[in-house]
């Protein structure tokens, strides 16, 4: 069966003032695919990710998500409800309890009743392994726990795609695995995921494709094992020699 493309990025250009961040990126992600983006800092990988749900605007090119082009404000909000995002710094809402963090958008965006939203939230918090701390505030949780709540919060909107922007970079080494486990589980369930991360173990275990970016361009992409062991581009070799 021909895989359906769910994210289509064409010739994407983005610059912050004089500084170019993306110099014409083309990327297609198919339904159910897990794509890991690696690259040095400043290579534009986070910017690319943030263009997918329009947290960043871009100058030229096109982004089509689930057949909706990113153009008008209505379209952008339509896409955002289909695309979940997990941030490096978690960005949980500190003034709301863990449970409220997961239910708020369900209620105000998805218009679910409190009972429905709570039921979904309990189920997801169970899934990410935080069932007992629902009434606590994010500040009382460890980093790993906060990031897992953030994943539950995004999943509660029933997204078709999940974006992860360096989800483990702000975590203590001991807590990285618990977050990766949740992500592995998601990948196994067939979630379409685009992950900016240097967790090679995760890429090898879960990703269908690894993409190397530098200076706002995609340098090379391949199945993770192939990319990591037999890179064809000089730039890729240089980068991998520094992180492997």
């Amino acid at each position: 069966m021909e895989p359906t493309p769910i994210i289509q990025i064409q010739n994407l250009h983005k610059h912050f003032g004089e500084t170019a961040a993306l110099n014409g990126v083309d990327l297609v992600v198919h339904q159910g695919e897990v794509v890991v983006i690696i690259g040095p800092s400043g290579s534009g990988k986070s910017t690319l990710l943030r263009c997918i749900n329009r947290l960043e605007t871009f100058q030229t090119g096109s982004v089509i998500v689930d057949e909706i082009p990113l153009t008008t404000a209505e379209n952008i909000n339509a896409i955002r409800t289909e695309v979940g995002m997990v941030f490096q710094s978690f960005n949980l809402f500190p003034h709301l309890t863990v449970l409220e963090n997961v239910t708020l958008a369900q209620k105000v965006v998805r218009k679910r009743t409190k009972a429905e939203a709570n039921a979904i939230a309990y189920e997801l918090l169970e899934k990410v392994g935080i069932p007992e701390k629902c009434q606590g505030y994010p500040g009382q949780l460890s980093g790993g726990q906060q990031q897992r709540v953030a994943i539950a919060r995004a999943l509660a909107m029933n997204p078709k795609i999940m974006l992860f922007d360096e989800p483990t970079s702000a975590l203590d080494p001991e807590m990285i695995q618990e977050v990766l486990d949740v992500m592995l589980q998601l990948a196994k369930e067939g979630m379409t995921m685009v992950v900016v991360s240097h967790e090679m173990g995760f890429a090898r275990a879960a990703a269908d494709r690894a993409v190397l970016m530098d200076e706002g361009l995609i340098i090379e992409q391949a199945v993770p094992d192939v990319l990591f062991s037999q890179p064809t581009q000089e730039r890729t070799k240089r980068f991998l020699s520094k992180i492997l």
């Binding site: 947290l55 995002m85 960005n91 003034h95 958008a105 965006v109 919060r153």
Partner: protein
């Protein structure tokens, strides 16, 4: 031994919870002085208090109404200042610069004396009877003047509060599909409130004091009533001492309430 036990009773962190904020004693002390003066020398002190008592209500009323309106106006202006729409940003910025750049007293004089005149000329120009016979109500003009000026300061406090919330909070809310308005209402403003409460409380106290300026535009507030009493009795020391003490009681009470609200919001959560 007794001394050691005595030392332990010094209120520490644990005990502070059950203790009344000790600065309330200052309020009690000032109120005590007013009471003492009124009781020991009813003439002139008690006479002054009785004479200005309706002015006290006017001062409190004008301050409270202006403050509530300023809270709303400030929020609207602040949202305009951080708006993506260039026109809203432009017009609200001009307003803030104008309102902060002119002394409050001059603004009050303008609203009470110049503004109605302008309306009347405008009415004559268009031969509109209603506008031609326009007469300014001093209370409304006083409140308008206070709000116009304080709205600008308040908007800057709101703006600083909103901008102090990390960008990631807005991004997280927007990435969940919330609109700009929903993100403001559910995520940004509830967090900003804590940041802005102390400066907003200070604005209230400033407003209370600056409300004395409305006495020049025919509002019979405490200051104006004081001047009237003085004009009739020629006892400046007693009159202005009493007026000063009455203002002091009000601002000290307001300061205690602000401190209490601050403490309450800071201890909740986390």
């Amino acid at each position: 031994m007794d001394d050691e036990n005595g030392l332990e009773k010094i209120p520490g962190r644990g005990a502070a919870k059950y203790q009344i904020d000790h600065w309330w004693w200052l309020v009690v002390a000032v109120a005590g002085i007013v009471l003492l003066l009124s009781l020991t020398q009813p003439d002139p002190y008690w006479r002054i208090v009785k004479f200005v008592s309706d002015g006290v209500l006017v001062t409190v009323g004008v301050t409270l109404v202006s403050f509530l309106l300023t809270l709303i106006l400030g929020l609207v202006i602040a949202l305009g200042r951080i708006s993506k729409n260039g026109f809203f940003r432009w017009i609200t910025t001009i307003y803030v610069e104008v309102a902060r750049g002119i002394p409050l007293l001059v603004q009050l004089l303008f609203w009470y004396f110049a503004f109605p005149s302008l309306i009347q000329s405008f009415g004559r120009l268009l031969s509109l009877q209603i506008l031609e016979r326009y007469h300014a109500n001093p209370y409304i003009m006083a409140i308008l003047g206070l709000c116009f000026c304080y709205g600008a300061y308040m908007s800057e406090i709101y703006r600083a509060g909103i901008q102090s919330i990390s960008k990631g909070q807005n991004e997280a809310a927007r990435s969940l599909g919330m609109t700009h308005g929903q993100a403001m209402r559910y995520i940004i403003l509830p967090q900003a409130v804590k940041v802005i409460l102390p400066p907003v409380g200070n604005e209230f106290i400033s407003l209370l004091k600056d409300s004395s300026l409305v006495s020049v535009v025919a509002v019979a507030d405490m200051t104006r009533r004081g001047r009237e009493f003085m004009a009739a009795n020629f006892i400046p020391v007693e009159t202005w001492l009493m007026i000063a003490l009455l203002y002091l009681i009000m601002t000290l009470i307001a300061a205690r309430v602000v401190a209490w609200i601050e403490k309450k919001t800071q201890t909740e959560e986390r």
